[in-house]
Symmetry: C2
Subunit: 499 residues, 2 copies
């Protein structure tokens, strides 16, 4: 063990502690925090985040990184850690502190004007702050630098190595294949079954979701499930992974899907090597790979016929009045009912990625200055009509529905679709390796699938570049084909031939 | 506004943010945290606490304090803040960092050996660590310095200005009066009524305690109530005050008393001037005054006949099966049933302070080196016999029951009794000012009592020394008389003449 590495370790532990603290402050803010303390909490988070920035930009850290880059005696895990740390350090150093601060303040302001604009369904309330946000994100991209184009610098924060060109190709391929398929399915899917909006008591749903995460092998000695308006998963330590779900009395499927989705994220976090807890490689770096885990558990496993049949039996015994007159097949068709919705988070798996395609298209056009923020509402409505075949009735249900851009998350949306595509491709490989796991899943046994994911993805941490990890698992480049085939096969089985 | 004060403010805000963060880490540890992350959480807390220590001992802060001490233009609130800050800075500077670290490590170790010793009911498992704890606390006292004797330096952390001599006099006076009175009451109190151990469903109790804190005017937009094995209240910001309660199915009174007790603490925190949130005077400094607020709401208000009658009606409507055959008077006698218990936290108001007297006596003797840690178990049992008239059946239920000493909290116990005595004295003054509030309390209206406490204590923050604050409110020095009179009057009304 070299001296420089020994000197690095306490710095990494300190950084981990501060990052974990920041995660707890944020988790608490979204789950429990009393509302009056919003302003103070934002200040607390800024205080911790500026300590993290201070640690990351410390010249002493830069010197240690340089020393270690020249050190051949490091093992692979150490080398990979130094490589990631170099990137974090350089990125942090390159962005001027004044810009970091202005972005952080603007985020708070923009969040408030977004909330106000959404409540009033009036984009103009948000427009000036959102214009400033795109300006500052361009400044940030320029400060960090890029090889191809500006947007690449933003993508890199969420999916290292992904470029604007990749995004364009992926969505072009996807839309070409998915749009006609989705139209064919939506022509046949009819109205949402009535039982889907029957009341399921909140405490019963809470108990059910706690049971469900146990079935899915989420380890509650190393994590928790709570509730929040917007479900999410975060990690405040290798042994402290927290997920949330959303419970709606008259829409049981919201809790069902959220729980399976977030458990997918949470199982990934719990599957990372604990011995790397303080190293950069012990954390996840790719939102695309992360989303592949949530989608595989929500879609390929969770709402597949086998596992859903198992869940249906359990739910029927918990809610005999609500589900007594429903068959397992009706339940399967209901949970998987495709429909045109103006709202992304309410979209089914058939239409979901068309919603994302619109957002990717728009943010790329905005960033390339081919579209002005002022023209966004019109472009949104036209794009929704084109992609999803529906026109939002209000700006609140249209251009103002997502918080991402107001929060400075530009370059983030494409990773949702990356995740969907990875999930389908990975699951195809898993089935090829394991054989069809349906018999197991029909009995609620998820162990084999989980072990496969642990072995093939989780155990690697962030030792590889995301694209390389994806290609290793798939055995070739990521394409839209496995996802398209998944949709075609699944819905042809439900609605008959789709051509 | 002077320049030095302007320079001080960002330091105070930073310190507040770190202290609030530390409080959240600790709250979460006791309430929610998954158990496997215990080690990492301890490390996170040490990281934040060492930042706090760094800030407090910063020579730049010392210089600002000196400048401000010489500045006559400061207003009273600023002067009081500088005075408190001077103390915090000097104390932090005087204790060597090596001692701070060893104490912090020893606390963790001592906590574990205490837990082990308690589980095995074997004091010898704890003894070596506890011996070291007393050694280090003596070193700490010597480093900080004192005027009278070493123990004064420890008391000062919990009750600024209180001395060993005060403690001795207070407990001597108390035991002299209370012991014969308690014996007379206990002779008459008989067995605990059967209905007290009937099952009250946990979720019903949870709903009830949420209702109760509303009645008591705890503001849930600025705080929360949760559950934890050991109820406590803490503050992670002026608008984020959190309390917990303990719910036991077969002992409804545990939740009832804990909720009222902790709400008393929490109302004090919520009553501090919000405009002082970042100043030293905007926080509480005296555990005795703090405990006066919890006791007043638990004892004088909460388990008095008027308010308890109001609560009884509500509980009876929520639990008709459990309370249908119980009268309001039976309920009052049951909740206020005195009995000899070996366990402090299960003790009633009549015997509680005799438990505390024993602890004060023992820790003073240990600190004065009149008693060795090795002889503690024997001294404990003898003292329990003398004060409470009962011999613990095991060390777990005896000398090992409290965590305080193992956590380094030496000089803390006396503040429990200070709180009890203050509560009785303050309430006497409140009744003199307001008239008997029983009619209001019988209808669940606590506003007048709360306003009186806000005006006479909460609104002062920590601008005064604790003793001065107490004497201002009482109109003279603190004595045991109001408490003794409270007990005598209350229990004579229940059991008849006590002589």
């Amino acid at each position: 063990m070299t001296k420089a590495w020994d000197d690095l370790l306490p710095r990494l532990r300190d950084l981990t502690d501060l990052l974990s603290t920041s995660a707890l402050l944020s988790w608490d803010q979204q789950v429990l925090m009393p509302r009056a303390t919003t302003g103070h909490r934002a200040r607390m988070m800024a205080t911790i985040d500026s300590l993290i920035h201070e640690r990351l930009t410390d010249p002493g850290l830069g010197d240690l990184i340089s020393t270690l880059e020249a050190d051949d005696s490091l093992d692979d895990a150490q080398k990979a850690s130094v490589r990631l740390l170099r990137r974090d350090h350089d990125k942090a150093v390159k962005v001027p502190l004044a810009l970091v601060r202005e972005l952080s303040e603007l985020q708070g302001r923009c969040f408030r004007s977004w909330a106000e604009a959404r409540a009033a369904s009036d984009f103009e309330i948000l427009q000036p702050d959102l214009e400033r946000m795109f300006e500052l994100k361009k400044q940030q991209a320029d400060a960090v630098g890029y090889e191809g184009e500006r947007y690449d610098a933003l993508l890199d924060d969420f999916e290292p190595g992904l470029t604007a060109r990749d995004v364009e190709k992926l969505f072009r391929d996807l839309v070409t294949e998915l749009k006609p398929l989705a139209d064919a399915i939506l022509q046949r899917s009819g109205d949402r079954p009535e039982f889907m909006s029957r009341p399921f008591d909140d405490r019963g749903q809470e108990d059910f979701s706690q049971w469900l995460i146990g079935v899915m092998k989420f380890d509650t000695s190393r994590g928790r499930l709570d509730q929040s308006p917007h479900p999410f998963t975060s990690r405040m330590g290798a042994d402290d992974v927290r997920q949330t779900t959303r419970i709606l009395t008259n829409d049981f499927v919201s809790n069902l899907r959220s729980t399976m989705h977030e458990t997918g994220h949470a199982l990934y976090e719990q599957g990372l090597p604990v011995e790397w807890a303080d190293l950069p490689i012990g954390n996840t770096r790719s939102l695309g790979l992360h989303e592949s885990q949530s989608r595989i558990w929500e879609i390929q496993v969770g709402t597949g016929r086998a596992f859903l049949g198992f869940l249906f039996d359990e739910m029927k015994s918990r809610w005999p009045e609500q589900l007594g007159d429903v068959s397992a097949d009706d339940f399967y068709r209901g949970v998987n009912h495709p429909h045109r919705s103006p709202i992304r988070v309410e979209a089914d798996e058939v239409t979901y990625n068309l919603h994302v395609a619109l957002r990717a298209e728009l943010e790329l056009a905005l960033f390339r200055e081919e579209l002005a923020v002022a023209d966004l509402p019109e472009a949104w409505d036209a794009g929704m009509e084109k992609h999803v075949g529906i026109r939002p009735e209000s700006q609140a249900d249209g251009v103002l529905q997502d918080i991402h851009w107001s929060g400075g998350l530009i370059g983030y949306f494409p990773t949702y679709t990356m995740g969907t595509l990875y999930a389908a491709a990975f699951y195809e490989r898993a089935v090829a390796d394991l054989g069809d796991p349906s018999d197991d899943l029909a009995r609620g046994h998820v162990g084999k699938v989980l072990d496969w994911l642990r072995t093939n993805l989780h155990s690697y941490g962030s030792t590889e570049e995301p694209r390389a990890a994806g290609e290793r698992i798939i055995g070739g480049p990521l394409t839209v084909t496995p996802f398209i085939e998944h949709i075609r096969t699944k819905y042809a089985a439900i609605y008959g031939a789709l051509d």
